[in-house]
């Protein structure tokens, strides 16, 4: 079976940064991604990022992926990239099985970094399987990666950052956004994103959810209603939107299947968006040869995913026997960056989730 020093599963912002970091430490890295391209969700993020210069603030996501790919290229002697490659199994002894193109393979890495990201959550309502109903991220992929409009008129469900940003980008693509609704009493995303779309004339209705989707062969109308404190619909408050697209943006779930299979300790932490691996401050799981970074270890912004990736890659390389000459300095810097990104009121939920994950609360 093939031996590998550091294997990285998932080439999004966390995985790319982990690969750069591990390779710059001197380890030989194998980076695998199931897509035909690297960059994960960055490649459709046409908006400027928040954060500080270190996390490429004010640069568009699409350009950040280019920057990271260039950095990756500087270490090309140390990095092997396998695109169109799906990891199928991560076993208790660390063995990885997968399929690359049409070929099945097995490998035995010294250390593995799992950076598989997260998937969009669904919302239950009558008719939610009708054509025209998309995850907001899927609609974003259609228009920003493939240049295809998802439809003519959209109702966005969810006023978090993804819902707000995708609404804005739909309008940039020439799609009408009839409104943004959210069951929560307040807008969950950054208010600057909300204002940006609000001043284009798009109403934001908090305290509303979808009652049902109506259509013969595909979506024709969406009926929404107000919710009470228990998030239950209130009869008589229904409003109907004539839309051919409903975008669902109600959060993400970490893709922890491989970590679960490997026998890492997993906990259900709602603040981190679902089932997550228990990790230490360097993103090592309860198995010393498996690290987890990015949304798979708790859903946050891409800026923190990148820093987590740099940190996990640095420490994974050290575990594999390759200590970066500036290891201590870099590790401390990454810790400081992550802490700063989470220090504000928007990071409160994440801080609570991490405390729960570390404190043994279930």
């Amino acid at each position: 079976m093939r031996q590998v020093e550091v294997a990285i599963v998932g080439g999004g912002p966390a995985g790319l940064c982990a690969a750069i970091s591990a390779a710059s430490s001197g380890a030989h890295v194998l980076l695998m991604d199931r897509n035909k391209y690297l960059g994960g969700q960055l490649i459709k993020q046409t908006h400027m990022f928040f954060g500080s210069e270190k996390q490429y603030a004010s640069t568009r996501g699409i350009d950040i992926s280019e920057i990271l790919l260039k950095q990756l290229d500087e270490y090309k002697d140390n990095i092997e990239i396998l695109k169109d490659t799906t990891v199928l199994g991560l076993y208790e002894d660390g063995v990885i099985s997968g399929i690359s193109g049409d070929e099945y393979f097995k490998l035995k890495p010294d250390v593995t970094v799992v950076s598989t990201g997260a998937s969009e959550k669904v919302l239950a309502f009558p008719g939610n399987d009708m054509p025209g109903i998309y995850g907001a991220g899927a609609a974003q992929t259609l228009m920003n990666v493939y240049g295809v409009k998802p439809g003519q008129k959209v109702l966005m469900v969810g006023a978090g950052n993804i819902g707000l940003i995708v609404s804005y980008q739909l309008m940039q693509a020439g799609v009408i956004v009839s409104g943004i609704i959210d069951a929560a009493p307040r807008i969950g995303g950054y208010l600057v994103h909300a204002s940006k779309i609000r001043r284009m004339g798009v109403p934001i209705l908090t305290g509303h959810t979808v009652k049902e989707a109506i259509g013969k062969d595909c979506l024709e109308k969406a009926v929404i209603w107000e919710v009470d404190e228990k998030y239950e619909g209130i009869e008589g408050t229904e409003k109907t939107f004539d839309v051919d697209v409903l975008c669902i943006s109600v959060g993400l779930s970490p893709l922890v299947e491989l970590l679960e299979q490997s026998g890492c300790e997993i906990k259900y932490i709602p603040e981190l968006s679902g089932k997550v691996p228990v990790v230490d401050e360097n993103h090592m799981t309860t198995k010393p040869f498996i690290y987890a970074a990015g949304d798979v270890s708790g859903v946050e912004e891409a800026s923190s995913a990148m820093v987590e990736g740099y940190l996990a890659g640095l420490c994974a390389a050290k575990t594999a026997g390759f200590k970066h000459p500036q290891f201590d300095y870099l590790k401390e810097d990454y810790h400081k960056q992550i802490e700063a990104l989470r220090a504000g009121p928007q990071g409160e939920r994440i801080r609570r989730g991490i405390a729960k994950m570390k404190g043994g609360l279930r």
Binding site: H47, M48, F49, F50, G51, S52, E53, A57, S58, T59, R60, M171, Q172, G174, I176, V177, S178, P185, R186, I187, Y190, L191, V192, H193, A194, S195, K196, I197, R198, R199, M200, G201, V202, I204, T206, G207, E301, S303, A340, L341, R342, A343, G344, P345, Q346, G347
Partner: protein, 169 residues
Amino acid sequence: MKEMFEKTGVQSPEIVRSVFPPIERINRGPVAVIECYQRIPCNPCATACKAGAIKPFEDINDRPDIDFERCTGCGLCVSKCPGLSIMLVDGSRSEENVVFSIPYEFLPLPQENDYVDALDRAGESIGKAKILKVINRSYQDRTPIIQVEISREKMYLFRNIKIGGNLNG
């Protein structure tokens, strides 16, 4: 007041006025108006400011703190702000009108001397505005800045423009 903003995404006039420069400063020439009301991890405005008007952040979650006297109205921060929350206001050109410089990321771009609909913070039309200039240099990284002239009495209402059919309705 803040609560309504968090429910609807529309700032009340009181909140807007609280971040506007004093009228004497506006009348002396272009100056930045920063509508960043929430502590979020973001600092490019402060790192972009070459005039030392936006104070360096101690904590990346700080809200921008701008010294209007030091602001030169250069506009570097306008296209750098990922939230598009910064614009310039200039009251030095005439008694009747003020000139805004707003970030605008939609196509088609307006043409100089066009008259377009002026919109408030809820996207409602508040009358007409004249396009003076469209600035779209490489350092702005695809966030063009539109210079718009509008009646002085709409100063605290104006926030956006609408051109032809590129917006809702």
